[in-house]
């Protein structure tokens, strides 16, 4: 699924790297507020949905080769978090939907959970 479609489905505001919206595609996503769980269990997932609005969400995405972080419940990170993501070529969005609704919307739209290990 192209990130432009993700944005559309989630009615999301793009906070950085919008130039990559039509370029990048993700095949799976995960939703978590616990970064250690993302680091422990997630594999081959291109996108993170989280309510954790700090730099470690971006760092974790970077370590896991994720290309997009979506902040749920309308949360907005500080400028330093957005700057870090911009530097790492990670697209950042904010959706008004809750975690449950955001994940469900993407799943219904065809994006799956991918593999865990």
């Amino acid at each position: 699924m192209k990130l432009s479609r993700v944005q559309e489905l989630l009615k999301a505001t793009v906070l950085c790297n919008d130039r990559l919206l039509d370029e990048l595609e993700v095949n799976a996503a995960c939703g978590s507020d616990l970064m250690s769980d993302v680091l422990a269990f997630v594999k081959d997932q291109g996108m993170l949905l989280t309510g954790l609005v700090n730099a470690q969400a971006i760092r974790t995405a970077e370590m896991m080769d994720m290309r997009c972080v979506v902040f749920v419940r309308g949360k907005l990170p500080g400028p330093s978090v957005v700057d870090l993501a911009a530097e790492k070529d990670i697209v950042v969005m904010s959706t008004p939907y809750s975690m449950f609704t955001a994940c469900g919307t993407l799943y219904a739209g065809g994006l799956v959970g991918g593999t865990i290990h």
Binding site: L34, S36, L39, A40, A55, Q56, M63, S80, L84, H117
Partner: protein, 153 residues
């Protein structure tokens, strides 16, 4: 190894000071290691295992010890990471290795960590993990990631 000019007999060493400043800076050393390993041409899975283990270690040093130092030795066949801090130490290492056991602060939890997965993650992503600790003196963690290693990850 496909890295240009990085073949048998070559060693790259890296040193990082992980300070206890802003939490947002935690992870910078791991990001740098990741970039270096990629540039040297290591396979993505090896890069991933080494950097996740390093990242968990870096976060742990930040949360528990107020920082420390990280030294990395890279050869074409393996990556050795040593993390040393002067923090409070770990009274019971076996207990600390259990998934879910944590002594992290509420702040650490608010930052997305402190759920007792750090050391177990470091173990599962590496081929060798040695934890040495003295209460009141500090902790030293040595990790080895082999290229083509047997880690389940």
């Amino acid at each position: 190894m496909q890295g240009r000019g990085f073949g048998s007999g070559n060693t790259v060493t890296l040193h990082y000071d992980v300070d206890a400043g802003d939490f947002s800076s935690a992870g910078e050393a791991s990001a740098n290691l990741k970039r270096t390993l990629k540039q040297l041409g290591f396979p993505p899975e090896v890069v991933r295992r080494a950097t996740i283990a390093m990242y968990e270690g870096e976060i742990n040093m930040f949360i528990h010890a107020g920082g420390g130092v990280a030294d990395v030795e890279i050869t074409p066949d393996e990556i050795r990471i040593k993390l040393v801090d002067s923090g409070p130490g770990i009274p019971d290492i076996a207990l600390a290795m259990q998934k879910g056991y944590s002594t992290a602060s509420e702040l650490a939890r608010e930052m997305g960590f402190g759920a007792g997965m750090g050391l177990p993650n470091m173990q599962s992503y590496t081929d060798e993990l040695i934890v040495e600790s003295q209460v009141g003196k500090g902790t030293s963690i040595s990790m080895l990631v082999r290229v083509g290693g047997s880690s389940a990850q």
